[in-house]
């Protein structure tokens, strides 16, 4: 009778712990890519100029 809640608690703790360990070890590549894109948008002003490109592509050479 008591074993079901105890088992559930154990399973939950194990799941949470393993999730935390995963976060600590692995580099979040997708999140990093998203962060990079947000910064690149800002630095290169890609979002602001999106509607009105400064120079048409392929015009040079």
């Amino acid at each position: 009778m008591h074993s079901a809640p105890r088992l559930a608690l154990c399973a939950m703790l194990l799941a949470i712990t393993s999730a935390c360990v995963t976060i600590n070890i692995y580099f979040p590549a997708a999140a990093a890519e998203k962060a990079a894109d947000r910064i690149i948008d800002e630095v290169w002003q890609l979002r602001d100029n999106a509607g009105q490109p400064a120079r048409p592509e392929g015009a040079a050479q």
């Binding site: 999140a31 998203k34 690149i40 630095v43």
Partner: protein, 140 residues
Amino acid sequence: MKLVSRLRVLLAALLFSLAGHAAAQNNLEINTPAISALQKSMQQRHAQLAPLYASGALGLARDGTVALRDASSVPLAQRGQINALVSAENADRAALYREIARANGRPEWEADVRATFAQRWIDRAQKGWWVQGAGGWVQK
């Protein structure tokens, strides 16, 4: 009956842990004063760098930096100024990668952050700009 409820609890626990995992990996912290300042400084410098990317004097290197690719396309008198621009840009970029890793409590991620940025700078470079691939410089 008991087995079913146990399984249900286990499934709930599993889903819960997966949800937490996804939420934690969803975003990287980039809203710190240090990162914003670097971003602003790079944005201002970009007005001077953009024509140099377009002329091919500068290229986007594989290691997440800006490199002087073709010095001969720049008049001798301007080379010093361009070298200073490149050093300033690369100093900001190095600081940016370090700060992002630090802001997320993982200074050891700096090299991964740099590699991610290197790839995204290159992927998103405009047509006509030079980027460094595994086999050398190529024009987009």
